[in-house]
């Protein structure tokens, strides 16, 4: 059994860890509220953008000449995966969930004999992926300096992707992020952004639109914007998820620390009692022998 002094030190250290995790939980909770709010406020924009593009692509007359961002290159050889993670750790399974999802997708692609390229956004994803897929990572983007997800950063990522697409570096682009459902549940998502996958909700609105200028021009201007918008949406969802995940992880940690302190305290009291009893026995048996 550990000595009384050791136990005392141990209890003190667990208690101070508990203080830290508690503080982190509070901070995460405050940030979560803000992140959640901005994720919710950002939704109308991306939804409207999607709607407009849907209406446009329904109305487009000849599908053959549709912009490549919409219809794809017609090939399916090189996949670009954008894995979006956080820059900070201590947020439970947040990063691992995305990585797990991404890795299973990677091995599927590689098994099919296709080429894989990876862009990581956020340093944690890069750290986890570079061991196995280090040679596949073509770029690592990190926004450590910017406090909140902002559109400017998303646009930067979007531009990089479009530049690479126009240079013919890949055929299909998928982004990986965590969708925020609630504080305990975040769903890792894989969303294909190039070519745009709209097939699941083809609402046949017979509404005819007037276009100014014509459809093609609008589409070719709108699609790059849509990419940035989708990335921005992913960033917002991600930051809300990150804080939510951190909050519940820290909540668990705080509770575990509490349990540990309780257990250690009982042990401490027992050994103190044992020491006292031992001393008493010694005194009594000493007195008896006189």
């Amino acid at each position: 059994m550990a000595s009384l002094d050791d136990l005392k030190k141990r209890i003190a250290s667990v208690k101070s860890t508990q203080k830290i995790t508690k503080a982190m939980k509070m901070v995460a909770a405050a940030k979560l509220r803000r992140a959640q709010e901005s994720a919710e406020r950002g939704r109308p924009y991306s939804e409207k953008m999607n709607n407009i593009i849907l209406n446009l692509s329904n109305g487009i007359s000849d599908k053959e000449n549709a912009p490549k961002l919409l219809s794809g290159t017609g090939e399916n050889k090189v996949h670009l995966c954008v894995v979006m993670t956080s820059d900070r750790g201590l947020c439970g399974g947040f990063n691992s969930n995305i990585i797990k999802k991404a890795k299973s997708y990677f091995s599927k692609i590689l098994n099919e004999g296709k080429q894989l390229k990876i862009i990581t956004v956020g340093s944690k994803g890069n750290d986890q992926l570079k061991r196995v897929y280090g040679d596949k990572i073509i770029e690592n983007i990190s926004f450590k300096e910017s406090k909140n997800a902002n559109y400017f950063d998303a646009d930067k990522v979007g531009r990089i992707i479009i530049e690479k697409f126009e240079a013919g570096e890949f055929d299909i682009c998928t982004i990986f992020y965590n969708q925020f459902k609630n504080v305990i549940t975040q769903l890792p998502q894989a969303q294909q952004i190039i070519p745009l996958n709209n097939e699941e909700d083809q609402n046949n609105s017979d509404e005819s639109y007037e276009f100014e200028p014509d459809e093609d021009e609008i589409l070719s201007n709108l699609l790059p914007k849509n990419i940035s918008t989708q990335i921005f949406k992913a960033m917002l969802e991600n930051s809300a998820s990150e804080q939510g995940s951190r909050m519940s992880a820290m909540d668990n940690a705080t509770r575990n620390a509490g349990e540990m302190v309780d257990k250690l305290t009982i042990e401490y009291n027992r050994s103190r009692q044992a020491a006292i009893t031992k001393e008493l026995i010694e005194i009594i048996s000493g007195a008896e022998s006189l």
Partner: protein, 130 residues
């Protein structure tokens, strides 16, 4: 019969403005200014840098935008833009900053004609605001 329709302006961060009692909106569409009244035909168009004028029962408002897309359908006008500032909030220093940025952009030599045109537009519009 009422002459009003609904407008919604959204930017990536949030829903910027929602109004139900709009009578007319003038937008700087790519091919010239365009006024939209109730029961306008469904339309999708682009914006160039300029001023959006919103005339409504509860007062008129002007907004400076740098880009955007508009969609009008079933008497719902949606404007999506990444940069929007209310002209009322646009004080001299902010205006000066934007103007400087736009001028720097316009004076770059290696940009495309379209980018140049847009930058020139920005400069022009910003100068005209007082």
């Amino acid at each position: 019969m009422s002459e009003e329709f609904k407008i919604e302006i959204v930017n990536p961060e949030k829903s910027f403005l929602v109004k139900e009692d709009v009578i007319e909106v003038v937008v700087p569409a790519f091919e010239g200014e365009m006024g939209i009244l109730k029961d306008h035909i469904s339309i999708i168009s682009f914006l160039k840098p300029g001023i959006i004028k919103v005339f409504s029962k509860s007062g008129d408002e002007n907004y400076y935008v740098e880009d955007g897309i508009i969609e009008f359908k079933n008497n719902n006008l949606s404007i999506l833009t990444s940069t929007i500032i209310s002209v009322a909030d646009l004080d001299k220093s902010k205006q000066g900053d934007l103007l400087k940025k736009a001028e720097a952009e316009a004076s770059k030599s290696e940009i495309s004609d379209q980018a140049k045109y847009l930058a020139d537009q920005k400069v022009e519009v910003l100068r005209s605001i007082n």
